[in-house]
Amino acid sequence: MLLAWLILIPILAGLLCWQTDRFGNTPRWIALGAMTLVTALALELWLSGDYHLGAGVHDAPQWQLEFRMPWIPSLGIAIHLGIDGMSLALVVLTGFLGVLSVLCSWSEIQRNTGFFHLNLLWILGGVIGVFLALDLFLFFLFWEMMLVPMYFLIALWGHRAAGSKSRISAATKFFIYTQASGLLMLLSILGLAFAHFDATGVLSFDYEVLRATALEPQLEFLLMLGFFVAFAVKLPIVPLHGWLPDAHSQAPTAGSVDLAGLLLKTASYGLLRFALPFFPNASAEFAPIAIWLGIAGIFYGAVLAFAQTDIKRLVAYTSISHMGYVLIGIYAGGAMAIEGAVVQMIAHGLSASALFILCGQLYERLHTRDMRQMGGLWSRLPLLPPFALFFAAASLGLPGTGNFVGEFLILAGSYAVAPVPVVIATGGLVLASAYSLAMVHRSMFGPARSPIPIPGAGRRETLMLLLLAGAIVWLGLYPQPVLDLSERPVALVREFYPPQQNATGAAVP
């Protein structure tokens, strides 16, 4: 039941926020309380559970905690939730970033706060649902459920970006991209369920039941593609990334934090949890293409990031670049590579959110996101520029930050499988330094535009940035707790993928 509460708390609190709209700041406090509670519950789960790999993968049940309730029995659909190390890590991240996204809209959002927080909390509830769902129907439901509130967040509280189309068209683009690809995934889910039905006579959408389905190679490949396209749009992988820069540049800060920090992670989580174990052979066949797509993303994102003048678009493009590494790590399939991908997911969630929050704080002060209008902020603005430098360093993967650990593990772990792509991908790290430093240089250094000082970060803003910086450094210096968490899930993924090798309970060296 605890798992159900993790999803229900944000959703119920969201409704409460909507109804308390007229009482000033009440919705903010409710939202803050709800997300703090979720984070606390998730941390409690972490501390009380035993997530170690132990002697063998199958010594303990796969799920630390499970929740099962019949829902639509005539179709074999149940409310089946489960949590293991990987989903726990991501739920903790969701709670943490949820708290931050409430905090970062404290002064930014002044219109219709109740309805805003309703949308924000429903996104978070949907994301947690995606991380916990073990029934494919339920998973799809949460997957789609996040879209409508996100659409509202961008369309109603977004900014008008200079020189591009309105926020409504950005929101619509986001929605259509994800919805269209989601429908392909729905087709795949149904195809899988009916393939299982034809083989066994049991109609079920349960994760563990469907995982055992034997498929014809051709069908497996088609179904895999359906899942892959849906995840590829959200990750995003390069030819399908068109929605991301627009959505980010028009979204309010909290929307960007949720998009970059959480929604992108649902895609990589989906690949690990569903696409690889369900379709191991097809995925292995597809892996070279996926890895090269990842490399394309790394370079494409980096080059375009460098060319941006809008600081938020720049950060958006860096996300494409960073998620390219995650894709490589997932499809390379080594234990170290996949664990690296998990660490990178979390590290990128933190660092990208931090940069977006910074962008939001700059925007509140300067009313522009155009870097050509910034320049010389270091001398005018206390506190924020050093933070910007730190998070830029995290984003470029400086040792001591979580991003370094993630990227290093991915590259080192994938080298044995795909040496050439890894060598090429390493070049992306150089580009990462180039765009990160260029961003800080263009906005913070150089001659000041005016001598008038700008008010520095308040207590709330400093607290947010300190929390994020602390988390990034902690992940960089002592990533072991997260690695411990993901050890068992990764070992389980590796039982299926890559298909030729069998489980050896491989641990991180």
Binding site: L141, M145, Y151, F152, L156, L190
Partner: protein
């Protein structure tokens, strides 16, 4: 065949509806009173609905009532759906007609006659009842569409529908003539055998009839009347057209499909699949740049019946269930959407509320009314947590189970296109409020029967979206 008490009981819903029509007619002749006549209608429809439920429990399924009508699961479901939609339209009509300075009562009379036609149609087992039912349903509709006859658009829509509908009926009649010429019989059950043999005259006849039916369902390429008629018809009548007018006909098609064994004929499967694909694409594409919500709902209904045909073609058990779920959710969503438009409109205050501008900022002034519309639109778009998603899921499942990959792919494409205009309608309601509204809902809209009905419908939509199992059990 003699008609005994069992048969009378099975016919009770139809008889009650017709009796209510007579009662309303007499009541109008006695004294015009809008409230009395509306109440009489609603009470009669409710009694008919109760008897439907009673007959469902008391009588065996599969009971032939004369050679013309059939009492079975399909007929009971159809009767109930028709009665519920008519009830919805009647409450909406009451809210709408309050502002009309003219004769208001005849609307209910027409509504009841059309409903009895629809009930005949869903039980039709013979070409004769098919025609009688269809015409009994269509003729009052001409009057209903042109009810606000001082409005040019309303009149234009009525005449357009009259002419085109008559043309469709001639197709239907000519088709029947050909069928009769070939087989010498008009009962559905007797046609299955010759159809297997593939007599050319019979195939031609049935194809012509299919064209007539496709017209009533406004499937592309027989859809041209839909946007104009939806646009011109008063909003509650639009709701009737979109729900009763289509549910009854699609159920008839379903009965055809089963009794005649059309599913085994490659020709008809291909024809229907072609109609489905064309309708899905046409409906969604033409709606893309539509700024008028009523026309948009017209296009959306074209697409929706394209989706529904997939369930019909699939012809498996899951397809039968899909048809039921889809029709009910479509009905709830359409009535909800038209209901909100009705509550915002009043005759003689210019056009009905239908432009996107009329909906702008609705959420900030009437949050619950806008929430009803949002739920209806999301359900039509098939977004999770609404019934529309369950329905679409069912249809896709039926298609996948029958391995109709092309149709399912077109469905996915169509719904992806469709998202665009549904979102446009939805977000308009949440934008900043314009200075002054041309049309506004009454302050106490929620206490009116029409308002209450739309709220209940959207609760139904949400409930089914969250927990569909009871509904599925009911449909079994």
């Amino acid at each position: 065949m003699t008609i005994g008490s069992t048969e009378l009981l099975a016919l009770a819903p139809l008889l009650v509806t017709v009796a209510t029509a007579v009662a309303v007619m007499l009541s109008i002749a006695w004294r015009r009173n809008h409230f009395v006549n509306a109440t009489l209608t609603v009470v009669g429809l409710n009694v008919a609905l109760l008897t439907t439920l009673f007959t469902h429990n008391a009588l065996p399924l599969e009971l032939p009532l004369t050679a013309l009508l059939q009492h079975d699961g399909l007929a009971v479901f159809g009767t109930a759906a028709v009665l519920v939609s008519t009830l919805g339209c009647a409450t909406l009509a009451h809210a709408y007609l309050e502002g009309l300075q003219d004769n208001r009562d005849e609307m209910y009379l027409l509504l009841l006659i059309a409903a009895s036609g629809a009930i005949v149609l869903v039980g039709a087992n013979h070409m004769a009842t098919l025609l009688i039912g269809l015409e009994l349903m269509s003729l009052p509709l001409y009057g209903m569409i042109g009810y606000i006859y001082r409005d040019r658009r309303s009149l234009e829509a009525a005449i357009k529908y009259l002419v085109l509908s008559a043309a469709a009926s001639t197709f239907l009649l000519f088709g029947m003539a050909l069928v009769y010429a070939e087989t010498g019989s008009l009962a559905f059950a007797t046609l299955a055998q010759p159809l297997q043999a593939g007599a050319p005259l019979l195939l031609t006849g049935l194809t012509l009839m299919l064209a007539g039916i496709a017209f009533k369902l406004s499937l592309a390429p027989f859809h041209l009347w839909t946007p104009d008629v939806y646009h011109g018809a008063p909003a509650p009548v639009g709701a009737f057209l979109a729900t009763v007018g289509k549910i009854a006909v699609v159920l008839l098609l379903m009965r055809w499909w089963q009794e005649l064994g059309l599913g085994r004929s490659t020709l008809f499967t291909a024809l229907l699949a072609g109609l489905a694909m064309l309708s899905i694409l046409t409906g969604n594409l033409l709606a893309l740049f539509q700024g008028n919500v009523k026309r948009l709902l017209g296009y959306s209904s074209i697409a929706h019946f394209g989706y529904l045909l997939i369930a019909v073609i699939a012809g498996n058990t899951i397809g039968d269930e899909a048809l039921g779920v889809y029709l009910l959710t479509y009905m709830a969503a359409s009535l909800g959407a038209f209901g909100v438009l009705t509550l915002l409109s009043s005759p003689y205050r210019g056009d009905d509320a239908q432009g996107l501008a009329d909906l702008r900022g609705l959420f900030w002034q009437h949050p619950y009314l806008a929430a009803v519309m949002t739920v209806a639109v999301l359900s039509l778009a098939g977004i999770p947590l609404t019934a529309g998603f369950i329905a679409k899921f069912y249809v896709v499942a039926a298609g996948v189970a029958a391995e109709l990959w092309w149709l399912v792919a077109v469905l996915a494409l169509g719904s992806a296109i469709g998202i665009y205009f549904y979102l446009r309608v939805m977000v308009t309601m949440f934008l900043a409020v314009p200075g002054r509204r041309r049309l506004d809902a009454e302050r106490n809209w929620g206490e009116r029967s029409g308002g209450l009905m739309t709220v209940l419908l959207s609760l139904f939509t949400l409930a089914v979206g969250l927990y569909p199992q009871p509904l599925l059990d009911l449909l079994r």
